[in-house]
Amino acid sequence: MSLNEEIVIAGFGGQGVLSMGQTLAYAAMLDGKEVSWMPSYGPEMRGGTANCNVIVSDERISSPIVSTFDTAIVLNQPSLEKFETAVKPGGLLLYEASTIVNKPTREDIDVVEIGAAKEAQKLEKKQVANMVMLGAYLCKKPIVNVGLVMDALRKALPERHHKLLPINEQALERGKALANGGG
């Protein structure tokens, strides 16, 4: 079956939601896939939330905006409320443990809690929580391998930030482990 994965990543502005999506899309592009990345934009950002749609596909992508998703990665409560119902039956919902007060309730989808923020704190770099999350996602849905994600980061980050590559790689790996039930 040909690949067509539609993902939403949602959270607060500062949580690296948009760059997580870009990194994923870039990695998949390097893998020769068709990709699109589409941010939410506009006044709803004022409240401090942000989200993006990422589509990775073997075929030409028609619309970059979709309303139901194969995967939702949510990093705060309002995003959970908004997107829990938008996951297709049988789909995947990953959420950040520390920000969710009322847990998801759907039972027809795969729900995984990830303590990405905590894990990032352990790594003493809270900015990489998004990479922990991405690692966890790629564990659940290995649509692109971590090596390409690192290639993508290498190309996306300005030279002067390349010293951060190792910690990002660590974060990705920790995420994978967490999702695997490890860590």
């Binding site: 502005g13 006044p43 709803e44 004022r46 409240g47 401090g48």
Partner: protein
């Protein structure tokens, strides 16, 4: 809502509530602004003043295009949403056909001082009997933090990524000063809302402005030196210091023109 919860006996007494966070003039609805944004402070205190003056039924407001585009979601008075920069023209239209009403605009610095320059200055020059509230956060908040005419020298914004360069793109525009020079202006003041006392002074000035309007002797103009934590890429607390240290030296508070002078 927790606020109906009574912790002490005396709290249920009629006079106990000394600051009601939701006066009748303020619609009870969460604001869409970023955390710590002064738009919220301004909205709330404007509506407190309308409440205190008992003029809710007289007031017609005009919202701008800018982050405060939804001001009418919060302000419980009749309102019109103007096109970007045209609030003063819209207010002129309203006031001319409803001369017995109290008409005010609420406009950001992009709205009032960039695209709306002509409409603002001409409304004042005609001496329209309206109140213009000018919320100056030195940036375009709504569209993602671009330079405004009031952006400070050297300030980084999304369209001055290397800092505002005076030589290239000019100087922070002092609209309020220009307005004060026009004979049609009746009362012109600049205030801020970054500390409790600043808020108190702002309220006082605003109350005066509403009262002066009744004289029908020209335009009242109240600038609020304000913040935009998101556009400034600061925490709200940092933004308060920035106002104190950078904004106020460039935009000092005080009356620029009073009817007495």
């Amino acid at each position: 809502m927790e606020r109906t919860f009574i912790e002490e006996d005396w709290m249920s007494k009629p006079d106990a509530l000394v600051y009601d966070n939701h006066p009748e003039t303020l619609i009870d609805r969460p604001l869409h602004y970023c955390p710590g944004c002064h738009h919220g402070v301004a909205h709330k205190e404007i509506m407190h003043v309308v409440e205190e003056l008992g003029i809710q039924s007289e007031v017609i407001g005009v919202a701008p295009v800018g982050c405060s585009v939804f001001a009418y979601h919060y302000m419980n008075v009749d309102m019109q949403e103007a096109a970007h920069g045209r609030a003063c023209a819209v207010a002129t239209g309203i006031k001319r056909v409803r001369p017995d009403k109290t008409v005010f605009t609420y406009q950001g610095d992009g709205d009032l001082a960039a695209i709306g320059t002509a409409e603002t200055l001409h409304a004042v020059n005609r001496g329209e009997n309206i109140l213009i509230i000018f919320i100056n956060n030195a940036i375009y908040g709504m569209t993602g933090g671009q330079m405004a005419p009031t952006t400070l020298e050297g300030m980084q914004t999304s369209t001055t990524p290397y800092g505002r360069n005076i030589k290239d793109i000019g100087y922070p525009l002092k609209m309020t000063d220009l307005v004060a020079h026009l004979p049609g202006a009746y009362y012109v003041t600049r205030q801020s809302v970054h500390t409790p006392n600043a808020v108190r002074k702002f309220k006082k000035a605003l109350k005066k402005a509403f009262e002066y309007l009744k004289d029908e002797r020209g335009t009242c103009f109240v600038e609020i030196v304000s913040n935009c934590p998101s556009g400034w890429k600061m925490t709200p607390v940092e933004s308060v210091s920035y106002i104190e240290e950078k904004m106020l030296p460039e935009f000092p508070v005080g009356d620029l023109k009073t009817p007495e002078k």
